[in-house]
């Protein structure tokens, strides 16, 4: 556990997949998340973000912000050692894509306890294979921003409104429920 002075904030380390980073960037809170957590990503998540950044829509702009933060060193890219495990996951579970598989293997290899993803379809299969890694939504970081007084509840609600726009109706339902839980945080 890192030492902490009185002024230092305890920072967790999480591994992020593309969907979680895009959500946080769409919600305009990604940079603020770095105040409370180091975010590590695998190479494939960087590749996916670059592809999405080519589009001129909300997600494309969010991906551009993610790429900027990676270029500035705010988000670190790391390599997975056991590449064969990625292929096993992707071929064994149709709902786990390459970025998610790499993110999970990276978290396991580096003993990072949390993987954040907003791909609801892949969560059940990720959890089956997660072992010591906890699978959480990007809302984990959003809730912490509220609890640690970095953003207000209203700002978190606005972020969730932006994140849920353009998502499937199933995902939007979860984000609407998240707004209720965020409201109850304080």
């Amino acid at each position: 556990m890192p030492k902490r002075t009185q002024k230092e904030i305890y920072k967790t380390i999480v591994v992020g997949d593309t969907s979680a980073l895009i959500s946080l960037a769409v919600g305009s809170v990604l940079l603020k998340c770095l105040r409370i957590s180091t975010i590590l990503i695998p190479q494939e998540v960087y590749n996916e973000s670059r592809e999405i950044s080519q589009f001129n829509d909300v997600h494309g702009k969010a991906a551009q912000e993610t790429i900027r933060m990676i270029s500035n060193g705010n988000i670190e890219v790391d390599e997975v050692e056991h590449v064969n495990k990625i292929n096993e996951l992707v071929s064994g579970y149709s709902r786990i894509n390459e970025g998610e598989a790499e993110a999970l293997i990276l978290a396991q290899e580096k003993s990072i306890p949390i993987l954040i993803t907003d791909d609801f379809r892949s969560i059940p299969d990720l959890k089956k294979n997660s072992r010591d890694v906890e699978i959480h939504l990007s809302i984990y970081l959003l809730a912490r921003l509220v609890l640690e007084n970095i953003i207000t509840i209203a700002e978190a609600q606005n972020a969730l409104n932006r994140i849920s726009e353009g998502r499937t109706w199933e995902s939007a339902a979860i984000y609407n429920l998240a707004k209720k839980y965020i409201d109850e945080l304080k």
């Binding site: 906890e134 699978i135 959480h136 809730a143 609890l147 199933e170 939007a172 839980y181």
Partner: protein
């Protein structure tokens, strides 16, 4: 409301059947296509609204998983169930980790 134009390719057999329908209803080909499209989109919107309503009921604990799955399909019901559980876990973990900074 402005009108936009679209073009499409369809199978020649389907086109002949479309023309037969248009003739029997004294309509233009494009009117038959437009009416079918409007009906389909309206139906899809209604289905989506029903699914959103039952999802809200399920998430509020007012509908069982079985009944929910009958309406939205087992796969989607499971996805939303796991999504709800993961959301709760994420909030609890956030509360736990935030205590270190408070």
């Amino acid at each position: 409301m402005s009108l936009e134009q679209i073009s499409m390719r369809i199978d020649s057999r389907l086109l002949r059947e479309l023309d037969q329908i248009a003739e029997s209803e004294f309509k233009r080909r494009s009117d038959v296509v437009r009416d079918a499209l409007v009906a389909h989109v309206k139906h899809e919107i209604e289905i989506r609204q029903i699914k959103e309503m039952v999802t809200k009921q399920f998430l509020e604990g007012k509908l069982s998983l079985d009944d929910f799955a009958r309406i939205v399909s087992f796969d989607i019901a499971q996805q939303i169930k796991v999504g709800k559980e993961t959301l709760k876990e994420s909030i609890e973990r956030a509360k736990k980790d935030s205590k270190r900074n408070l």
